[in-house]
Amino acid sequence: MRFNADEIASVLQQEIEQFESQIDVREVGTVLEAGDGIARVYGLSGVMSGEMVEFPNGVQGQAFNLEENSVGVIILGDYLGIAAGDEVRSLGRLLSVPVGEAVIGRVLDPLGNPLDGKGPVDAREYRPVEVIATGVSQRQPVAEPLQTGIKAIDSMTPIGRGQRELIIGDRRTGKTAIALDTIINQRESGVKCFYVAIGQKDSSVAGVIAELEKHGAMAYTTVVVAGASSPAPLQYVAPYAGTAMAEHFMFNGQHALIIYDDLSKQAVAYRQLSLLMRRPPGREAYPGDVFYCHSRLLERSAKLSDALGGGSLTSLPIIETLEGEVSAYIPTNVISITDGQIYLQPDLFFAGQRPAMNAGISVSRVGGKAQVKVMKKVAGGLRLDLASFRELEAFAQLGTELDAATQARLDRGYRMVELLKQPQYKPMHVVDQVLSIYAGTQGYLDDVPVTAVPAWEEAFLSFVRQHKPGLWKTLDERKDMNAEVEAEVKTAIGEFKSQYTAAKPSA
């Protein structure tokens, strides 16, 4: 595109006419040493903790360590152009990032700079990256559900708006898949989504963005990227930056969801910074305040009181374990901070159960309060039933002869496990989930072969949508199931079964 130079000149002229000359007062210091993402600065005697500083090449930093004779600065950018002897100036402000509608649909770095080539972020508002979380009087209990669209999660470990639910598991067990499905499922819920990628391969992040675009989720999603090649300070700051962007919507009475993928990498980046800053190492060489690093971050997720607009920020932090070791330092820390965890197990994953959630040790401390009533009724005992099925299954593998009742429980368990399998990028509406799980738990699938369960479910749900739209709508509107509606559901299942069996007599 060509530009009209006269018009640009008039804008510039207007700016020059309005420009007021003033003396620039700043505090300065001198770089003593720089490298590995940090710098030690002599001077800056009045700088405050967390204050921004600027190096001569325009790169910004943040005062991190205030020592007797020097200031430890984390460099938020390319540190290779900074040399000993360079003048550093304090900027007299805290690290802030652009917030608001302008960041939605964008891919940004932790400082709010665009990485997607779609031009500058035209934000009218900025928000400090580090703020103290809201207090008890400004909150209300979590009670409103956030539907992930994943049957296993919405039925057994429901997530409420304002909750912190940890997704934990070994590498390649489907942690990011759960997060992405949850984002994709927010298309019609109005929840703004933020995906913070920390220390990940750029190729993986590009894949995530492509999937989000493919499913139309980038329209309400912001991706904050501090990849594996980003300096440690940016990886450390990224979750706080993403939270600041998400908090803006929470404080404006809206709902937001943030995914931290993953916090173990952030802890490693923080450990690197702390060790370079000569802070004393503790367990696994992490600094003593690594717990606070995560607790102050996750505490910012909240359900605000009605007086403050009733907005919410739900967070799904991800932690990667090594060989299933959940008792390592960082996993135990984050487990203790969050309101529950979804534990993904490699052997379940490789056995074909996806999502590979271990129902026995996955919990949601908010529980049924964050479930729609109908789901609570239908799936109330599902988690415990499934956990006892797993025990029974292990026992059955010993080759013991089982009585008919035990065999029937096992058979139903196999079908429920099959029913809870769900392909990636196929989140389900809560009414569909309810109908499926109702059919499973009430034994309507007992005569269906285990391998035919997914096909049966698909056909059943399509039958209800086509032939019983009234029932579907009633469930969607009321989100509850009284005796009358339950009878209707039973009739619908009966009708479908007779039709399905007739159509597929061999099944």
Binding site: F3, L12, E15, E27
Partner: protein, 210 residues
Amino acid sequence: MSKAVRQPTVFESGQEHLGAVYAKALLGAAALAGRAAVVDELDSFVDDVLDRLPSLEATLGSPRVPADAKLTLLDKGLSGRMSGTLLTFLKVVCRHGRFNCLRAVRQAARQQWNELEGRVDVQVRTPQPLNADTCQLVTRRLEALLGKRVNLSVREDESLIGGMVVRVGDMVYDASVANELRRVRESAVDLVIHAARESLERFAPPESNA
């Protein structure tokens, strides 16, 4: 290591700390009336002796030379040529193996003496040399502003284009033309981006509007 200390700012914070401790001791040991003299004498010793005889500085700062030999050397070379206070001080510094901090001591002593006297070092950078009248004017204005007597040092810096930059301690007062131009550029770029985002058609050439 001593090379780094020759920079305008102390680059080794550990040495700076030691320098401040020894400087306080030196000023304390000197009689009230003799403080100015001993600070000047230390300046002269560093500038006129150590700068001209780097081997002497290397010998006195070397850990391989025994302390007794250093004391003998100081006695033979400097006794009667400097005040007793400074000579004793240099011997103490040598005995403690801290001779490599002497330049930091000198800087700290000058700074502490300035503070005691209510004086402050001010560096001024200008694109062109200042004449004596302007220097006096700047000094008087700064003294009125800071409430202290000012030791003015002026340095030329053509990159400033116009105006001047004054540095007092860690504070910099930048009234240079270069800084003004930088600010104009930043705000103009922001303004054009905002204007373009609001109505891009405004910037399209006339023929494409037609």
